[in-house]
Amino acid sequence: MEIKAYDRVKTARSGGRPMGKYYIDNMIEDFCELHGDRRYGDDGAIIGGVGFLGGKPVTVIAMERGETVEDRMARHFGCPAPEGYRKALRLMKQAEKFGRPIICFIGSPGAYCGIEAENRGQGEAIAENLFEMMGISVPIISVVAGEGGSGGALALGVCDSLIMLENAIYSVISPEGCASILWKDSAKAPDAAEALRLTAPDLYKFGIADKIIDETDKTNEKICKDLKDYIVAQIELCEKYSAQELLDKRYGKFRKIK
């Protein structure tokens, strides 16, 4: 039986679902977290750092919503502030300097929505990432692990290979937001979820997601292992290209979406 889109939305958001920190802990050896955007602050909703993936140095940028209540408050429930996106960009440029690939883990309801975020240029921070990531000349592999919430998710999603977990979602707007704007009724979110075509199979069909990692009947360990193997293979593939070829292919990946 086909799984309803809104069931996947619920799974993508569910409390126990592994997020960025889990994948760092279980995939990256000798991880060293690096903090701050060197502009204003350090954002808990995005973890950045360096380590080894299968023996190779990598930079990892991961959205994380936290586990305990305190942790979740500190990470503002996984909604990155402008300083989170600027930290991510700083670390990506550092990765480019040292020639190591970048892995981004996406899972967030969206960019942080608040007065302070606007004061510090939430829109500008996202725009800057979209612009600069199109020119970073090392491989960028992005993984949508949970909820890919709009521009706040896309700001880590300009990549050479986009991987989605089977029950991850990626959408221009939350189904609740869509339903309340269009039908003045957020209870119609399940209908909006179907209409928005936000599931991993949908995105694969559109040619936006390059790979779906199956989750059905698998443990988290097995999912993490399969994901790791695929990322390692993708990095090897990307490294066959010259920097210019890589950037041309990256631009082409988005250019064809119309």
Partner: protein
Amino acid sequence: MFLKNLFKKEADRKCTKCGAEIPYKKLSENAFICPKCGAYMRMKASERLALIADAKTFSEQNADLKCKNPIDFPGYDEKIEKAKADSGLEDAVVCGTCEIGGEKCAIFVMDSSFMMGSMGTTVGEKITSLFEYALDNSLPVVGFTTSGGARMQEGILSLMQMAKVSGAVKRHSDGKNLYIAVLTDPTTGGVTASFAMLGDIIIAEPKALIGFAGKRVIEQTTGEKLPEGFQTAEFMLSHGFVDIIAERKNLKEKLATLLKIHKGGKR
């Protein structure tokens, strides 16, 4: 009936601020600024081009790219038809080349009368193509934004246009070409979070609403009262996100000057 349509004049407009009824001719001669209270009215793309481009220099590109319903979103076909009828446009942006004070440039003008200027695949494709054309021909781009953000009826494809256009802006920029973004009321959401904020020079019209998240959403999410003047052009200038606030009547001259300053500036 037919004759009436043929000679149909633009209807008089009501000031959105003070409510004054203003004859169309008077309004257009006053750069669509209310003569009573000084408020800036929103302008259609054709009106903006008439104000900014030198007479008879505008040449449209991709006029035949039509809005479609790529993910079969329910009710969208009807919305498109209504938007076309309301705006007289095929989608929310007009692109082409023109001269401004004798300086040739590529230009895009968004139009909020087509589904609040939202960006779907057609808007994304037209603006991307314009930046590519400008790169190939070493032309500066002048872009007028007005938008409610990414268009939800085209789902994830709309979101991806943010990355696509930003990539085209990057390539144009790497070619050492100038891009001037002019932010007009309202510029929000996914357009703010992509090409609106990527100008080498960012100009805003006075009092224009400019921001990422919607005001109501922020109030509902945080429970905080928004400060006076929040998300206005003046707010964006004082927070360092806009270079210039330009009066509409001086805008063309300002653009011409900036284009002249950047002429032949490539190394």
